[in-house]
Subunit: 260 residues, 2 copies
Amino acid sequence: MISVVLLGAGNVATHLYKAFLKSETVSVVQWYNRTRASISSYANDVDITDSLDELKEADIYIIAVSDDSISQLSSDLPFSNRMVVHTSGSVAMHDLDKKNKIGVFYPLQTFSKTAEIEFSEVPICVEVYEKENLTLLKDLAKAVGCKPHKITTEQRQTLHLAAVFVNNFTNQLYRIGHEICETKNIEFKILHPLIEETAKKIQQMSPYMAQTGPAKRNDKKTIKRQLKLIEKEEHEAIYKLLAASIKKTHNLTSRPVTKK
Amino acid sequence: MISVVLLGAGNVATHLYKAFLKSETVSVVQWYNRTRASISSYANDVDITDSLDELKEADIYIIAVSDDSISQLSSDLPFSNRMVVHTSGSVAMHDLDKKNKIGVFYPLQTFSKTAEIEFSEVPICVEVYEKENLTLLKDLAKAVGCKPHKITTEQRQTLHLAAVFVNNFTNQLYRIGHEICETKNIEFKILHPLIEETAKKIQQMSPYMAQTGPAKRNDKKTIKRQLKLIEKEEHEAIYKLLAASIKKTHNLTSRPVTKK
Ligand SMILES: NC(=O)c1ccc[n+]([C@@H]2O[C@H](COP(=O)([O-])OP(=O)(O)OC[C@H]3O[C@@H](n4cnc5c(N)ncnc54)[C@H](OP(=O)(O)O)[C@@H]3O)[C@@H](O)[C@H]2O)c1
Ligand SMILES: NC(=O)c1ccc[n+]([C@@H]2O[C@H](COP(=O)([O-])OP(=O)(O)OC[C@H]3O[C@@H](n4cnc5c(N)ncnc54)[C@H](OP(=O)(O)O)[C@@H]3O)[C@@H](O)[C@H]2O)c1
């Protein structure tokens, strides 16, 4: 049995809590948040607190608070020599106070409180300061059905950067697709199957092989027609830059596309 | 029973052929391609030809050839007053020779010969010149289990533009994620669950609501750190433009992000 104290009550902490609850080999002995109200609805199921001085003993303390507050919170912990990890993709492990045994437990997924997640499919990137603590973090990942990946700080930060491209930036392209549809009274929903298939395709072939469309075909007529159709300057800039990027990737002419 | 002659043997024609084959109310009476070799493996199952003069009679002729060749091929057809459609997202319906009854049968999906598709989930955008032919196209879509959407030329071209953003450009972001992973010897596969969840999420909430990450949080420290981590100028330009786009969408400061 691995005992855990959760610190923070945001998207990640809430999903972790639910995943731990389902596991037979993890027990959440306490849940801390500076604002008690955010976790008070769980008071019947788990010991909750808003005071660091009341923190109970546990095998692992998981700090799942905003990136900027991780370092301070780790210093404020009123104990030493225990295992303390954060869940961030970008914060350095060494930002954690070294009075404790430190590590990272980074779930590589996008969490929102409202969207359900199949937690067992989330890759967990683990990192430790002292090698002997690796097994504990790996076991914790496995206890919730996840695959642990031992990585370095640099790899984690690189993964986080890649995640920004494939998640945040991709989502912004969906947003633009939504805006474009709205200008002509088209339901965005009609694009859902295409969006899903685009995401699925790269599990069967590389994104390089999966590419199609006017830029990949270097179909100048269609590109010109589409640039004329675009109403927002911001969309036009993104179209040009990404079309040029596709051409470059596929070794097509890199002359910039113009509207005229 | 709806009888169909297919013209072309690319990604779309091949997927259409397979979908029609499964349908009990569609019969492919003939398959034409200028290059016989591409379809000769189907010769046992369907009448194949590479000669327009040999084309048989059918309810619908589906021209699924490269955009640039649609107009010419429709003029070359040695008959008139029959139903002829193309499958393109961007070519105007009026590019089809009006000696025949014309229309569009545009499957809004990304097709590659190797990737299997659940065809019944493909939205079919239909358009006709003469209203009385609409039912036939709708029936053909329904015969393969698809939902037909009656749209205008302008709406179809807008949809195609939106599709370029959510499909081709998104796929290019996947490609960049792949490149970034490779520089640090990280398996791209570890991003698959994130990519799938990002695509799934917008079926539950709008892309606007689904957005997360450093740009959405206006987290300048992380953005700076990430820009430093980027090795390719091209990736940097895309990062800056899309981060700025996210900030604009969410009404955050629009000062450009700099590397220093
Ligand atoms: N969301 C994701 O998709 C995701 C994915 C992987 C990793 N992560 C990482 O997981 C961590 C948590 O992210 P999240 O999305 O769950 O955050 P979130 O939903 O914004 O929640 C932030 C939590 O941090 C607490 N907090 C903020 N400032 C604090 C302070 N000064 N002292 C103590 N607590 C403070 C907040 O407490 P109050 O309730 O009192 O405001 C809240 O409970 C971050 O390191 C993030 O990078 C996030
Ligand atoms: N791929 C997609 O994801 C997708 C999705 C929706 C709609 N569409 C549209 O569907 C249509 C076909 O696309 P595709 O991806 O299936 O194309 P494709 O895989 O590139 O195949 C093109 C086909 O067109 C034929 N062709 C090319 N030039 C020709 C000419 N001058 N005369 C006669 N035949 C010619 C080729 O014949 P050969 O075998 O002899 O070369 C080939 O059979 C296009 O209008 C496209 O915009 C495509």
